[in-house]
Structure formats: C-alpha cells, structure tokens
C-alpha cells in the first residue's frame, strides 16, 4: 500500500517543470517535498492531486493506477496555500462540502453529516466557529478549516501546498506541531510541500529534496542531513 512515484515528467509550454521525479514512501508516512522555488515540488503535488496531468511516468498508490483517475475519484484531500475556502459558505458548510456532493447512494444522511462536521471542528479546535464565514476568521483559523474540510472526505492521501506559507512565524510553529499530531491520529499518508528546511525536518518522516524537476535524495531527516548524496543537497541543507 505504499506510494510509488515513477519518473514523472511535466512540461509547461517549453519549461520542464518535472524531469523524471521518482519517490517511494510507505503507507502512512509524512513526506516533505523540500526545495527552492522552481524545483517542481508544487507541480508534483498538483499532479498527485489530479489538478495537473503528467506528460509521462506513473504513480501507484493503494493498489490504484493513480494517474488514470480523475481528481474527484482519488479522495486526495488538498490543502492550498491560500486556503481556497468557499467564501460564500459558512465554516460548517465548507467542511461538509465533500460529504454533500457525494452521489445519492453514497451520501450520508444530514444528521450524520452534521455530526461529522462537529467532530472535525472539534479535532481542529474550532468548535464554536461553525456559523462564521471565512472572512471573519484569522489566517491560522482558516487553514484549520481547510484541513478539516480535506479530512472530512476520509482521504486516502493528504496533500498540503505550503500550508503555512501565508502565516506569521509563531503561528507557523504552532500549526506544524499540531498538523503532525493530526496526521498521527488520522494515520493517513501525507505529502507536504515546503521551501523551509526547518519546517520539513521538524514534521516529516521522509524528506525528498528536489531540484530542477528531479528528486535528488529521499530519506529520513537525520539520514539526509548526515549523508547528502549530491552537491546540491549538501549546499541546500548547509544554508
């Protein structure tokens, strides 16, 4: 049930965003895609989420040919850097969205949806804010709503695109500890994009260092720091 990414490539116009990226991670791992801007980490994440299509390569996860499935079938919860909350819906409706759009046969009854929403808001510690609108929340609160919303669909995989990028340092630190805690509780395979080393090393089980569309090295934070395999990796980590 591990995640196997094999030689994924993607070109935008003539620019090669991904140049054969490969990665293997066990089920339930918390993987950080770390690298400078332009390294292709967000592109890879979006391909995993079904928001972009790869030109070639393959991804297998949970015994599924991942890239052949459209985004809505993957159950890959995606958390955006700018939250992408539905501004015209309350917090509760945002979180309930993934459950409410399910086809008739799979949709839980309204009472059940309400219960799950409350459970999730409890998990992210936003209990009494269900009736508020996103514009009435702080950045940190909005990101927690985004996470609750992604978890509501009981995702196979959780994808986070620099989720704390728009927040200030103190909030970032608090949220990443809390994110790790949520991950451990939910046990879901997570892939997390960041350009911040400290963040990657603090939360991830596996760190994949990316450069110019390729994954240069994958390993535990300790391994990668102790034993950099390429010049780029050692330079990037020494800063």
């Amino acid at each position: 049930m591990s995640l196997v990414i094999d030689s994924v490539t993607k070109k935008f116009q003539r620019f090669p965003a991904l140049n054969g990226a490969s990665l293997t991670a066990p089920q339930g791992a918390f993987v950080a895609l770390l690298g400078p801007s332009g390294s292709g980490k967000t592109t890879l994440l979006r391909i995993l989420g079904g928001l972009e299509q790869a030109d070639s390569g393959s991804v297998r996860f949970a015994d599924l040919n991942w890239l052949d499935m459209p985004a809505r079938e993957r159950k890959a919860g995606f958390v955006f850097q700018q939250y992408a909350l539905f501004k015209h819906m309350t917090v509760a409706k945002n979180v309930a969205f993934g459950l409410e759009v399910r086809p008739r046969g799979e949709r839980p009854p309204a009472a059940e949806i309400k219960r799950r929403v409350e459970e999730l808001l409890d998990l992210v510690q936003l209990n009494d804010l269900g009736r508020r609108y996103p514009s009435q929340l702080s950045g940190g609160q909005r990101q927690r709503v985004a996470l609750a919303r992604a978890l509501a669909i009981e995702p196979r995989m959780l994808l986070l695109d620099e989720p704390f990028g728009a927040l200030d340092a103190k909030v970032r630190k608090e949220l990443r500890i809390w994110l790790r805690h949520i991950h451990d509780k939910a046990g879901v395979t997570s892939v997390f994009v960041t350009h911040d080393q400290e963040e990657a090393f603090a939360v991830a089980d596996l760190v994949a260092v990316m450069n110019k569309g390729r994954i240069e090295q994958v390993g535990t934070p300790a391994d990668v720091r102790r034993d950099p395999r390429t010049a780029f990796v050692s330079e990037f980590l020494s800063v």
Binding site: E52, Q53, N65, D68, P70, A71, R72
Partner: protein, 282 residues
C-alpha cells in the same frame, strides 16, 4: 495514461452547448439588426442609397449632428479634465456626492434629460416668458439641441479620467511643481501624456453618443425638417414617411460610425490597456 480533463475545465458537451447559445443569442439580437440596416439601405441598389444621403435635408441633418457634437464634445472634455483634476489631485469633503452627480445622466432616461430643459426653457418653463420677450430661441433650435447633447454625454470623459487619474496618483505632479513648473505646465507636460489614451477613449465614447443621441434631442428639437433634425431624428422622419431606403441609408452612416467607434475602442483596449481606467481591461 488516460487523457483526463482538468477539473476546472468544462466538459465538451457543455462547452458546445453554451458556446452555441452565446453565439445564437448574439447573432439573433445583435448581428441581425445590424445586417438589416445595410440590407435595407441597399435594397434598391447603391445609387438610391447615395441619393438619399446627399439629399438636402439629409445633408442638413448631418451638418447639424456634427455641429452639435463639435460643440458638446470639447465642452465635455474640458469638464471631464477639470472634474478629474479636482477629484484626483485634491482632498475635499463631498467627493462621493460629486462623483454620483457626475454619473447621473447615466441613470436618467434620455426623455427625462430633455424634459428638464423644457421645464426650464420651454414656453411654460421658468425662463419661457423671458426668452419669448427677447426673441431668444433655445427650444426647437440649435442651442436646445446642443444642451441636450451636452447633458447626456458629459459623464463620458469624466468617468474615464477620474479613476485613471486617481490610480495614477499625485507624485509626478507634485514633483513637477516642486521643480518650479506652473499649473498649466504641469498639466501639459506631466499629466496629459499620462492620460492621453484614457482621454482619447473618453472622447471617442462621448462623440459616439453625441452623434447618436435620440430621446433627449427629440424632446428639444421640434423636428423641423431640414432645420432642427439631427441624423437620428431625420432617420425617424424618413421612416415615419415610409421612405425606407432613405431612412436606412442615413441609419447606415450612423451604423458605420458605430462600427468604427467599436473598432477604435477595441483597439485602444487591446494596445493601451494599461493606460486606460482599470475597468476596461478585459
């Protein structure tokens, strides 16, 4: 791997359906009427159409329209520049009210626009008796027509310049003044180059409306054939008298003017998007 549609893209069927609806609607409501104008104008061939346009009364109507526009457009341009200068470069109370007032002709029916001047200058209006005594003709004469035209077109230049100049700020002008430039010099050498495309855009729209205005001018003109009929009014006269070729021939001139206006407008929006008010960038 399978070729999948991006989640933000519509399915092909929907695209074809919406595209067809859009094109059909525009074709039916916009293109057909335009086509009819030219078709009817040339119904009897090019000759009769040209004769209709060069008819004495038609020429008088063309001349009147051009005269009214030639007076109204420059006046409104000066107004627009003054208003935009005052609003963009200074702070004072009541700005919002002023801007709302400037937008007023847009929300007023053209007939009401004509009506208000009748109430002031008409035979039973405020100044009616006075004008009669001094043999001054405002209604049913050029002044009335110019007034109506000025009223309905004065927002155009102002509406274009105000957001543009507010956007552009005061820095450059303040720098010029600190270097010793007079107000007039500052305006000519610093402001004008920055607003020239916006100004042109506003003048273009102002002119198009000035030549095409019907309702307001209709109320004030008196419809005297060959004397107080602008082109749109002359079109009405010919049409009511069943001179269809004549009516559509003059209408065709107006339609061509509209198309030229549209073309220039589009050109300005494409090439000079950055130098027009933000609302025009597509």
């Amino acid at each position: 791997m399978k070729k999948l549609r991006k989640p933000t893209e519509d399915p092909l069927l929907l695209k074809l359906l919406l595209g067809a609806i859009a094109i059909a609607f525009v074709g039916l409501f916009l293109v057909l009427p335009l086509a009819v104008v030219f078709q009817e104008a040339l119904a009897k061939g090019l000759g009769p159409a040209l004769t209709a346009i060069s008819d004495e009364d038609s020429v008088a109507a063309i001349r009147l329209s051009l005269t009214a526009a030639a007076i109204a457009v420059p006046l409104n341009t000066v107004f627009g520049v003054c208003a935009a200068w005052a609003i963009a470069k200074f702070d004072f109370p009541g700005k919002t009210f002023l801007v709302t007032l400037i937008d007023l002709p847009f929300s007023v029916s053209p007939v009401v626009a004509g009506l208000i001047y009748v109430l002031v200058f008409g035979a039973q209006g405020w100044f009616g008796p006075y004008l009669l005594d001094h043999d001054i003709h405002i209604l049913f004469a050029l002044p009335g027509i110019v007034l109506a035209t000025v009223f309905v077109t004065f927002p155009f230049v102002a509406r274009e310049l105000i957001p543009l100049m507010v956007d552009q700020g005061r820095d450059e002008e303040e720098a010029a003044v600190s270097l010793g430039a007079s107000g007039f010099q500052t305006f000519c050498r610093v402001t004008l180059p920055n607003i020239k495309w916006g100004l042109l855009y506003g003048v273009l729209l102002c002119n198009a409306r000035a030549l095409g205005e019907f309702g307001a001018v209709s109320v004030l003109s008196g419809h005297i054939r060959g004397l107080t009929n602008t082109m749109p009014l002359h079109v009405q006269l010919l049409y009511d008298n069943y001179d269809y070729v004549g009516a559509f021939a003059v209408a065709a001139i107006l339609a061509m003017l509209a198309l030229v206006t549209l073309a220039l407008k589009t050109l300005l929006e494409w090439r000079y998007a950055d130098e027009l008010a933000a609302s025009h960038r597509h």
